[in-house]
């Protein structure tokens, strides 16, 4: 065993995820449940483990309680190590005072000594906002092969979508010469995935310089990457062809979950060579009653199903009572859907209780004005009393 690591991962998990509204009022976005038994952060963490990266700093700031409890000592991801392993890194006080993480770059800046302790050649910057399976080791060897100072993972998006992303413009050899954040007239369709590999010594210098610039917003996309490009550093685009989805909005979170039910979507959770690890619930297998009906769905341990479930995802410990109908919906851990309730195109938060004969959401066809249609959301722990109707697109944060 040695204290030196070739590559250390820094996972930015402090974001609020404000566009997930009620779902992130009590927890940081990376802790939001996803895909039946996971939370978003399971994907980058499992990627690290599967890629042989065993030292991960997780930078937390916004509502860290749920996230911290979930991460623990990193054991579920095999990241409880004698040297390295998973470390939660919140902002801290020093003799010079202390500040919150001002931006993504500042978060790493404040933890330079953490990275230095492992004396790595490389550091990989990750975020806790995306669902994807990726071999970081392959990206690292690409980085080395190109003798790059920085490598940025990119994915090809539809040209008309490109203005929503940070776009990399690269030459024929994939060397990046320009970066544009959400360009009105994009010149390419190579979107940054927010995954960067840097030579640590190089990055450290830029972080220090950036910190000394009072006008900087201390952000990788806005400041560090442009500064490196200006200095003509060797920066390369690493093409990723797999499934990758930002789950920053209600719609995209719902869609990404539904993608798991689509056999044509290349995100295989059943691949034993690239498992997605998570903190597993302690609960018996799920029970399907003689009256239950289930099709095209995902159901996990601890669930009890007495009603109908179609094109939906049930998280651990969910109860669907008799004659309840769940369609095209996501029911998060511990939620109870009582007798006769109908839930369509909705997200029901953790431990919410949906009363008898409640109707939540609607199919798009059932709504005349498409402007009024959207995924309905019931916040965590919310109780919806018997017989209530929750319209599509509505978001319920308090008991009704």
């Amino acid at each position: 065993m040695t204290t030196k690591k070739e590559c250390v991962a820094m996972l930015l998990a402090g974001g609020q995820g404000s566009r997930l509204y009620v779902l992130t009022q009590q927890m940081a976005k990376p802790a939001v449940p996803f895909g039946g038994k996971y939370r978003i952060i399971d994907f980058p963490l499992s990627n690290c483990t599967n890629s042989g990266i065993d030292t991960v700093g997780v930078l937390t700031q916004y509502q860290p309680l749920v996230l911290n409890a979930y991460l623990g000592n990193g054991q579920p991801w095999d990241l409880d190590r004698v040297y390295g392993g998973l470390h939660v890194l919140p902002p801290y006080q020093s003799t010079k005072g202390g500040t919150w993480y001002k931006g993504t770059a500042n978060a790493i800046y404040q933890n330079i000594s953490f990275v230095d302790a492992y004396d790595p050649e490389y550091v990989i910057i990750l975020s806790g906002d995306h669902i994807y399976k990726m071999d970081y080791a392959e990206m690292l060897s690409y980085h080395k092969r190109h003798r790059a100072d920085a490598t940025i993972a990119v994915i090809e998006v539809e040209m008309q979508e490109a203005s929503r992303f940070g776009i990399m413009n690269a030459d024929d050899e994939d060397r990046i010469f320009e970066f544009e954040e959400k360009p009105k007239n994009p010149k390419s369709n190579l979107a940054s995935m927010g995954i960067y590999i840097f030579n640590w010594n190089k990055l450290k210098q830029y972080l220090v310089d950036d910190e000394n610039d009072p006008h900087s917003s201390n952000d990788f996309g806005k400041n560090i990457i442009p500064a490196m490009l200006n200095a003509n550093e060797r920066m390369f685009a690493y093409h990723f062809n797999g499934y990758w989805k930002d789950v920053g909005t209600i719609d995209s979170l719902w869609e990404a979950n539904m993608d798991l039910l689509n056999p044509n979507i290349p995100l295989d959770l059943y691949d034993k060579s690239w498992r997605i690890y998570s903190r597993n619930p302690v609960a018996p297998p799920h029970y399907m009653s003689p009256m239950a009906r289930v099709e095209s769905s995902m159901v996990t341990e601890g669930c009890n199903v007495y009603g109908n479930v179609d094109f939906s995802i049930l998280f651990p410990g969910v109860t669907i009572e008799e004659e309840a109908v769940i369609t095209d919906s996501i029911i998060m851990p511990g939620a109870v859907i009582k007798k006769g309730a109908v839930v369509e195109y909705s997200i029901v938060g953790e431990h919410a209780v949906i009363g008898e004969n409640v109707h939540i959401g609607a199919r798009p066809e059932a709504v005349e004005n498409k402007e009024n249609w959207g995924v309905a959301v019931i916040g965590p722990q919310v109780h919806v009393s018997d017989g209530k109707v929750v319209a599509p697109k509505q978001m319920v944060a308090d008991n009704i």
Partner: protein, 374 residues
């Protein structure tokens, strides 16, 4: 209240292996799969942990690879500790070490484990009884009665064919054991031993040494039966759900019991969970024409056909058009397209190819051994 921190646990993994030969041909009783995601050893281990016991010795003698693989370092039961924790006790001794024949000899091999322990009491359990029991309550009964040894029993009706392998207790009005019957021909109601005992540690150590000196090795016959007039054996009546695994048929029935809501509530209460090895399987995926009625289904399965009245373990694949009824499919079983199976128990990694029709009966479920291809 007793101080549970003064108790140490002993789990016997191999006792009664011979009763379920099919299931234990390459594993211990303790590592027999049960209920979709468990192994029998999970019940005694979880009962101990839930009672607050933090040091457990797991005694085994043969076929213990699957057991070791399952319990690992004990982490999933929170028994990975710097002090205390889980200790696996394979056969051990000097040049005269033998494969133990009974519990006395098994305990003799574990004497150094017991002597090193700071505990004052020992709680012992076999792996043949499925139950969720509060061991603290039993320890309280043991201490209040001042008994040398306390044994757990349930008052129930002996099933036909069960009596031969069952120990029965006769008790007085204070539940003190007055006589012990081993394998009677009697039928009808009785106090059935659950093979769970509590004893003072130093009493147990002396008892084991003394018995070894006299050539006794069977705890039920040589100690309980012979000495129940001399030593104080207290009965502790357990009133919850229990099921003893004494044959392939009782194994089948115990699994099927889990389809009963009340049984699940008694076995898996939220405040006394049953822990097992974590396998990081993805949730169950149901296909377009899937149907599942009255089933218990563990993670990692893909269900494209129909399953009914069945227990489906992790990673099972039921293909399109297949029908599975009244069956227990263990981990990794594949049921091919349009196959129709009834009253079957498939051990791990069994493959049933396409278009097969196989049916056992309720009285005699068909058992298919590990790795078979039909």
């Amino acid at each position: 209240m007793s101080d549970i921190r003064k108790a140490v646990g002993i789990v016997f993994a191999n006792m009664h292996d011979e009763l379920v030969k099919d299931l234990t041909s390459d594993r211990t009783m303790g590592s027999v799969p049960f209920g979709g995601r468990y192994r029998l050893v999970d019940f005694p281990l979880s009962n101990m942990v839930n009672a607050g016991i933090t040091k457990v010795g797991l005694i085994t003698k043969a076929n213990y690879q699957s057991l070791m693989d399952h319990v690992g370092s004990g982490r999933d039961w929170d028994l990975t500790r710097k002090r205390e924790g889980l200790h696996i006790l394979p056969p051990y001794g000097g040049h005269d070490a033998v494969m133990y024949r009974g519990k006395i000899e098994a305990l003799a091999g574990a004497l150094s484990f017991l002597r090193h322990s700071q505990a004052e009491y020992v709680i012992m359990s076999d792996c043949d009884t499925i139950l969720n029991m509060d061991f603290r309550e039993m320890l309280d009964v043991h201490l209040k009665s001042g008994a040398d040894l306390t044994v757990a029993y349930a008052h129930a009706t002996l099933l036909p064919g069960q009596s031969r392998n069952t120990v029965l207790f006769e008790v007085d009005e204070t539940r003190r054991v007055t006589s012990v019957l081993c394998g009677t021909v009697a039928n009808g109601p009785g106090n059935i031993s659950l093979n769970i005992m509590v004893a003072g540690k130093s009493f147990l150590e002396e008892l084991v040494q003394e018995s070894m000196a006299r050539g006794y090795y069977n705890l039920d016959r040589d100690i309980l039966q012979r000495s129940c007039g001399e030593i104080h054996i207290q009965g502790y009546e357990f009133k919850g759900y229990f099921r003893k695994i004494q044959s392939t048929k009782s194994f089948y029935d115990a699994n099927m019991d889990l389809l009963n809501r009340d049984v699940r509530a008694q076995l898996f209460p939220e405040n006394r969970a049953i822990y097992t090895k974590v396998r990081d399987e993805a949730p169950v995926r149901y296909g377009m024409q899937a149907a599942a009625r009255n089933c218990l289904i563990a993670d990692g399965c893909t269900i494209e056909g129909e399953v009914e009245n069945s227990i489906i373990f992790r990673g099972v694949y039921v293909q399109k058009g297949a029908r599975v009824r009244n069956s227990i499919l263990m981990q990794g079983t594949v049921v091919g397209q349009k196959s129709d199976i009834q009253y079957m128990i498939t051990d791990k990694d069994v493959t049933i190819t396409d278009y097969r029709t196989i049916a056992g009966s309720f009285a005699y479920p068909v058992f298919v051994s590990k790795g078979s291809v039909i």
